[in-house]
Symmetry: C2
Subunit: 340 residues, 2 copies
Amino acid sequence: MTQTTRIVLANRPKGRPQPTDFRTETAELPELQDGQVLLETLYLSLDPYMRGRMSAAKSYADPVEIGAVMVGGTVARVAQSRNADWNEGDIVACGNGWQTHAISSGAGLRRVDPDVAPPSTALHVLGMTGFTAWAGLGNIGKPAKGETVAVAAASGPVGSMVGQIAKLRGARAVGIAGGAEKCAYLVNELGFDAAVDHRAEDFPQRLAEACPDGIDVYFENVGGPVWDAVLPLLNLYARVPVCGIVAHYNDHGETTGPDRLPGTMGAILSRSLTLRGFIMSEFMEAQMGDFLTEASAWVAEGKLHWREDMVDGLDAAPEAFIGMLEGKNFGKLIVKVADL
Amino acid sequence: MTQTTRIVLANRPKGRPQPTDFRTETAELPELQDGQVLLETLYLSLDPYMRGRMSAAKSYADPVEIGAVMVGGTVARVAQSRNADWNEGDIVACGNGWQTHAISSGAGLRRVDPDVAPPSTALHVLGMTGFTAWAGLGNIGKPAKGETVAVAAASGPVGSMVGQIAKLRGARAVGIAGGAEKCAYLVNELGFDAAVDHRAEDFPQRLAEACPDGIDVYFENVGGPVWDAVLPLLNLYARVPVCGIVAHYNDHGETTGPDRLPGTMGAILSRSLTLRGFIMSEFMEAQMGDFLTEASAWVAEGKLHWREDMVDGLDAAPEAFIGMLEGKNFGKLIVKVADL
């Protein structure tokens, strides 16, 4: 018998999640049936969308039930197999959630080749966040050569891929991030054309200076005051993939004025803007294979760079997650659950 | 020598236009040159966009200069021709503005066949407003069979075409209009599936009842409180062609709270909505011919209905225009400038 340790949702948070909204449990897993594999979690991805799943509000995905294991993308090792498609020791990308072990029928497992890149990259550059950037740009943003692509939370796993893919497509990449260290990273290590610190007092003016030809694609994943600075810079026919509005995830109740909607609707009308919300699952079945082919080649050619912020042990997940919602991490936040 | 009578912009209105913002003048037209035609205006279209052109504010089109002829779509007869492409008596759609006669090089004239439909329809069902509805639905709304299409200002020239084209494409049409008479007209004469009076106190609830399967396409041409009632009804992947926000045309300065933007952005994200602003000129060159072919066939088959609100004589234009901005007309507002 195998024991799994897991972190479940104890309470639905009101506003900022607290450590007490999570609870750690252990459970015995049943014997493997024919066709099943036992998976040992190596890496757990922590992502902002999980905050939404902790709420009961209607959304594109069902909420996590109280007492249920927190959802999450994982990389795991096949520890035992009674499935002919999988061998002990295979590395897979899967969605085990916040737990050390899980049993799978094999459905939905994606093989990870450790010779292409470190397996943890299956959680970002060669995984969900990379695909989110690739699919949002490819299906909605559609940057043309020479156009300007702006992205906020640009040092994060989605934003850093948005900028790098924009560059690979021949566009100009402008990143928005918090603090000088992250901005330097964008330009010096990821190759962005410019980076702007949203904490600067004259942020709107600095952003305008960084985008002398306006903005053709704004990859929206933060909302809030950054949007107010971006809106006047959007060009005629600009495209805005709306992938997240982290600034509002902890909102509850009515927001105070002024009412910013008429200004946004007026800009949509007068500049023929496109705003399109999406989550990557819309495009996953049709396009994930193409993405992995293209992105794996980029990785092999050294054209994609990334940064991981790895914390150790499943117990560290709640605190790391709460910190991430406040922007404390720098790089893709990953929990190392077991040694590779 | 031919004399033209024309109405020019005398002053830029502050708020509601006044009769004194217009001035009537007469002028002698020069002799026709080779290649030119003399046009006699038969019908002048009056449309809300003209209010914007009276202001100096930056928009997608240049303002009318003080002392210049008010712009406007017209149907005219060729009164004299020194152009081999046009014969005396030909009927054309053109943009003569608010005047009785004009000289043209022939560029931009569109032939109107009086055997297809009454020539005044070239100003609405077979003209700009019809094309606006057709292009917004075809390029952005893309209603599928069985989907629900909602439109506000539904008894107006754009809205009435949106609903009728939606029906012809196999979708369900729900119109929003002001007052019982207009709502009855939508259902009984235009064939909408349902009509909802936005003046009703329980308007949001009535709209929800009229859209039991939600809304897949909302053709936005009013903004304001109607949007707040529509937003919760929009389905996953709903499309919103943004064609006008009349409710905000008179806004100035900061709008008071609550801030409605986070709610709209949250819906865009969680329901993968598309909002896309447009003006019909974007699609005109590529698609106007296809539109006229399809819509002319619909007219010939009796599948499109319309209502004209015709006033007599160019002198009546200013008062009719001012009344239109207050919603006094019922049907496409047209000035009959000369007998057909």
